[in-house]
């Protein structure tokens, strides 16, 4: 079976949707020459009207996409840096997200915002290393963080077909993942549906994005001590509460590992939503970035601020001692 890379999976999803639906088009900086690689080959195949390279005017091109979507198009907007989402936060949250309700249902805003390489790309330092998915989960914009090539393909396709705005974070830590995938078997993956990557009985580990791979590694490492279930929500908003509750109701224990800041992050939401409905055997735990994290440049500092396998392992072990 061919090895499909995560990056190539995103590229294929874009190509397939551009081919399938004339209303899909891409907007972004340097997408012509595919500086991020996810748009490689698309200009040649689909032409400059549908692969539109933009001036550095993130606010305008984000709202341009909103307007195009109001007129029935399905724009995909690529951002080179996760923090550019801060720059267009108003345009997404205050306009794209609000138009359907404010107009009383007169319109839809099917825009996809794609961030290839979110989170830390080692050495890119403070302003290029954010992982702001929890912000979008808070405001209620559909938020997707695929962990594997097949999910990257399937979730990006579903995002493009969704009638609402969707932000797709492709974590830098997952971009180089490759897996054996029968390319013909690639399918849309429904938004809002999680995935159990590994069955286990003692504890449910909710892992987001690239951390799914870390969670699986830790689970394997600990296999002789504890039976770990790894739950990948895939979509952070809307969250697959049913899927998660099924898992946690069985295991009775919960750890969340997520690469966003601790306070008001998706880790907090997962814990709150679970304890509102399930009595756990032991207090739940989170492994996250610290509160207010800014990633320092020096690689060892950068790593120290991100959640790691050691922390996850220790969280699981402590939790098993607690009850």
């Amino acid at each position: 079976m061919p090895r499909l890379s995560y990056r190539k999976a995103l590229n294929r999803a874009l190509a397939d949707e551009l081919a399938r639906d004339e209303e899909v088009f891409l907007l972004g900086e340097d997408i012509r020459v595919a500086a991020s690689n996810v748009t490689a080959g698309l200009l040649k195949r689909f032409g400059p009207e549908r692969v539109r390279d933009t001036p550095l005017s993130e606010q305008a091109f984000t709202s341009f996409a909103t307007g195009a979507a109001l007129a029935g198009a399905r724009p995909v907007v690529e951002f080179q840096i996760p923090s550019l989402l801060f720059l267009v936060f108003e345009q997404i949250v205050n306009h794209a997200h609000k138009f359907p309700l404010m107009t009383g249902g007169q319109c839809a805003v099917p825009v996809t915002y794609l961030v290839p390489g979110s989170g830390s790309r080692t050495g890119w330092a403070g302003q290029h290393s954010d992982h702001p998915y929890s912000l979008f989960a808070h405001v209620g914009v559909t938020t997707v963080v695929p962990a594997t090539p097949a999910d990257a393909y399937g979730l990006l396709v579903s995002a493009i077909r969704c009638d609402d705005p969707v932000v797709v974070f492709a974590p830098a830590g997952a971009m180089e993942v490759r897996s054996d995938v029968d390319v013909a078997s690639l399918r849309p993956v429904p938004l809002g549906r999680g995935r159990v990557h590994r069955r286990g009985d003692d504890v449910t580990v909710v892992a987001v994005g690239h951390l799914v791979h870390d969670a699986l590694a830790v689970a394997d490492d600990l296999a002789d001590q504890v039976s770990v279930e790894v739950f990948d929500p895939r979509t952070l908003y809307p969250f697959d509460w049913d899927g998660l509750l099924t898992s946690v109701s069985r295991t009775g224990r919960l750890v969340v590992v997520d690469d966003s800041n601790r306070s008001c992050g998706i880790g907090a939401e997962v814990i709150a939503s679970v304890v509102e409905r399930v009595r756990l055997h032991a207090p739940p735990r989170r492994v996250t970035r610290p509160d207010g994290a800014v990633l320092p440049f020096a690689p060892a500092l950068d790593r120290a601020v991100q959640p790691g396998r050691e922390q996850l392992r220790s969280a699981i072990q402590h939790l098993m001692k607690d009850g």
């Binding site: 005017s57 091109f61 709202s63 341009f64 307007g67 007129a71 359907p100 009383g104």
Partner: protein, 323 residues
């Protein structure tokens, strides 16, 4: 109509005037909650601009938006019902004064964020033209908006991609209480010219002058030209917002207000009609507005159980906030 039609133009101006006055009455009586930004004094701009448009053209309005909505052809009764928060309103009572929209007649919506409309209408026009539709767009904006970076970015996109959008700046001398001279370095038309957008100044108090200038600009745009810019010099006769009726803000010298009010678009357009023709129009407008207000107040208020209807076009249902 690209031809002058003094009766129709007068009727529109008069309709907007009386609509606003009735709306202010309804603010006073508590039927319009939250107040409005009255368009009184600026009617000539919306009326003149929209008189030069076709039904298939699209406009994006502002917080001071009723005039644009009415001039583009939205039903005054459903517009007033929207202001009153009724299910019979344009937006089913979800939008109110600052978000009144009627996609069926090309009104993409009033917008409560200064400077936000420009990029949205640019994207909408671009997307529909790509599909082969022959239309132009108008972005209404205030003098305050030309200091907003997002709008300036939109000028660049529209100019670069030659999207036929007419930017109409209604220079009423103030952004809330801030005079133009205290806010705009350089000139208003110079802002557009910097992007290679042809810009002209027109007497915004003369609806026919506005119509003629718009027809010329729109004609160039339909003939394949890029965006255009018109600064319409006008004056706001009333408060920035009706809250100012209660709180006295001291920023316009009384002589200036008197001078501004002396050039009234209703009088200017009305003086071009024979007195009896004018009286006929006035009577018809009055009759229409009686019906408008009756319709608005007769509409049912929306059911709180449906408070989040239309939040997601995809059909997603938001999780409730209750305990």
């Amino acid at each position: 109509m690209t031809e002058a039609d003094p009766v129709r133009l007068y009727r529109t101006v008069r309709l907007i005037r009386r609509f606003e006055e009735r709306a202010i009455d309804l603010v006073r009586s508590g039927h319009v909650v939250g107040g409005i930004h009255p368009y009184l004094g600026q009617e000539g701009v919306a009326a003149g601009v929209c008189a030069a448009l076709r039904p298939g053209d699209v406009v994006a309005g502002t917080h001071r938006g009723h005039g644009h909505v009415l001039a583009k052809g939205a039903d005054p009764a459903r517009t007033m019902a929207e202001l009153c928060g009724r299910v019979t309103g344009l937006n089913r009572g979800r939008g109110g004064s600052m978000h009144a929209a009627d996609f069926a007649v090309g009104v993409l919506g009033a917008n409560a964020i200064v400077g936000a409309g420009g990029a949205i209408v640019t994207g909408a026009v671009w997307a529909r033209r790509r599909r082969g539709e022959d239309l132009v767009g108008v972005s209404f904006l205030g003098d305050g908006a030309v200091n907003e970076g997002m709008l300036l970015e939109a000028f660049n996109l529209a100019a670069l991609w030659r999207v036929p959008v007419l930017f109409v700046c209604e220079n009423n001398g103030y952004a809330t209480t801030m005079p133009v001279a205290g806010a705009v370095a350089g000139s208003i038309t110079g802002r557009a010219e910097a992007f290679g957008i042809p810009a002209s100044v027109v007497d915004g108090q003369d609806p026919e002058a506005v119509r003629a200038a718009t027809a010329a600009a729109v004609g160039r745009m339909r003939a394949g030209g890029g965006p255009e810019f018109i600064e319409a010099r006008t004056y706001r006769f009333d408060a920035h917002h009706t809250f100012e009726h209660a709180v006295r803000l001291d920023y316009r010298p009384p002589e200036e207000v008197a001078r501004g009010r002396s050039r009234d678009p209703v009088e200017i357009a009305g003086s071009r009609l024979a007195p009896d023709r004018r009286a006929e129009v006035d009577a018809s407008v009055e009759a229409e507005l009686d019906a408008v207000v009756a319709f608005a107040l007769a509409g049912p208020e929306p059911d709180p159980a449906g408070a989040l209807e239309h939040l997601y076009a995809s059909g997603l249902t938001a999780r409730a906030g209750g305990g």
